[in-house]
Each structure stands twice: as structure tokens, then as C-alpha cells.
Subunit: 127 residues, 2 copies
DNA sequence: AGCTTCCTACGACAGTGGTAGTAGAGCGTC
DNA sequence: GACGCTCTACTACCACTGTCGTAGGAAGCT
């Protein structure tokens, strides 16, 4: 039903981000990283999330030493893609224009980003 | 907790969109519009959604004749704003760049949109 | 061998979202 | 004035998400 390939809650995504940002880790390490980011969750909560992420096919685990090590199986880019797509679909039947407009107008972009966007736009014009 | 001011589910949002797209309506009319859009929901389901939207402060109703007429209290733009913000926060700690990049690269834009974006970018450069 | 510590498995529970049924009020028609 | 249609209020229910507790195994310290 949902347009999202990968249907993840906010807290699950936060866990996945830790895997993206810090690479393969044990439950405990993930928990510590979450704590550093101000997300105060219990060990078993993290375990639950990692288990669910694995069930959903977006992470996997390998036994190592005494503890399982979890790693992301999907990239940040692919999650971005599906979530952005879901958002466009929900709000504008899939049209990207209004959201790009909104972003360029209302959100801060660094000078580098602006340059890159200008370049992309120029490339588009080349067609 | 969630970054979204207005925390709406997909189905709730679909109802809100009908209010945006067709203006103030009765429950029955909303239901019919949803059916036209392929969303086969029961009358009472629509009623539930409208009631919830009202509770959440994003719609309101006025008694009129025999039935309540519901209308949106928040604009599509403001919902776009908060959902886009939530998405940026979730995935990139709020940075807009990567998502703009993704959109320009991967989503179809009309010629008009491209022109508009180029203009916006030019304006940004003017600062 | 017993105690401590760390790990995983499993279960639990409340909140929310999606979906709908039923009951009862108001009104039009015979 | 009884029947039926339409509307709203209330309740229900399941799946999913966020959150954790408890139980029990492995492994080391004393």
C-alpha cells in the first residue's frame, strides 16, 4: 500500500543512520552512539530495532566473537530515494517541482550546494 | 518528539488533500472524491478521519443544513514545509543539499520548473 | 563451584493509524 | 405515526512502532 519500499519508523531510521555513519557495530556500540546523539534508549530497545531492521531486510548481522555485529544492507541514497518519492506522491501526485522550489526557497543551502545545483540545472538544459 | 508539527498518517493526508483540492465538503462528498481517486473506504472511515483531522487542528467543521461541512485549516504549503523538514532531519540532520541534488538528478522536472529553479538559484547567487 | 557480567530470545504493553460496525437522532414520505 | 434514509457518536479491532523487562546461556573472576 505504502509507496515506501522500506517502511521504517523514525526510531528505526535513527538506528540505521548509526550503522551508516559508523559502520558495522555491535548492539552495545549502536546504543552508545545513539546516546551520544541524545537518544536515550535501553539496550534491549536497540536490540529490538536491530532485529526488526534485519527482519525488514535493511540490515544484517554476523556472529563475531561474543556478540553479533550489525551492518546496513541498504544505502542512505536508496532510502532517500524511496522516502522522497513517497513524499512527492503523498503531497503532489509525484511531481517534484513544488518540493524543489520549496527547498531552494526556504532551506539553507551552502555555496557549494548552490554551485552544484546550478551545474545540474545547466546539464538538464543541455537536453 | 517527532519533528512534524502536524503528525498525519498517509490515509489522513489523502483526506486532507481532498479538502485542499475540492474545498469545503461534507463527509459524503469527501468519500466520493476518495473513491474517484481509487481509495475505497467506507463512509464511517472517512468520518473517523475527518474527526481526527479536526482533533489534530488541521481541519474544522461547520454545521450546515443537515450535515457538517469540513474544510482544511492548514495549507498544503505548510504541510509540505513540515514534512520536508522532518525528512531532512531524519536523513541528513536537516541539510537540504543532498535532497535537492537527488530531486534534480532523479526526478522529472518540467521545462517550466527548470526555468523557475534557475531563476531562484540566480536570486540566491545575488546575495 | 558460585557469582557477576554480558549477550540474545521472547514476550509485553501502550499509543497511533487504518478500517469499519452499530446505535441512535433528525427528517421526509406515505 | 411508522418506515426508511442519512447523518453523527461511540466503540472496536488489528497491525505496527517505540519502549522495555525478564529469563536463560556463555564466559570470566575469586
Amino acid at each position: 500500500m505504502s509507496k515506501r519500499e522500506v517502511d521504517l519508523g523514525d526510531a528505526e531510521l535513527a538506528v540505521l543512520r548509526v550503522l551508516w555513519d559508523f559502520g558495522p557495530q555491535t548492539v552495545r556500540e549502536v546504543m552508545e552512539h545513539l546516546h551520544e546523539r541524545g537518544r536515550r534508549v535501553a539496550y534491549t530497545t536497540v536490540l529490538t530495532f536491530l532485529t526488526r531492521l534485519e527482519q525488514k531486510g535493511v540490515a544484517r548481522s554476523d556472529r563475531n566473537d561474543q556478540a553479533y555485529v550489525y551492518r546496513a544492507k541498504v544505502s542512505r541514497a536508496s532510502v532517500t530515494k524511496s522516502r522522497v518519492k513517497a513524499l512527492l506522491e503523498e503531497l503532489y501526485d509525484g511531481a517534484a517541482g513544488p518540493v524543489v522550489m520549496h527547498l531552494v526557497e526556504n532551506e539553507r543551502l551552502t555555496a557549494d550546494e548552490v554551485t552544484q545545483i546550478r551545474k545540474l540545472i545547466a546539464d538538464l538544459d543541455a537536453n
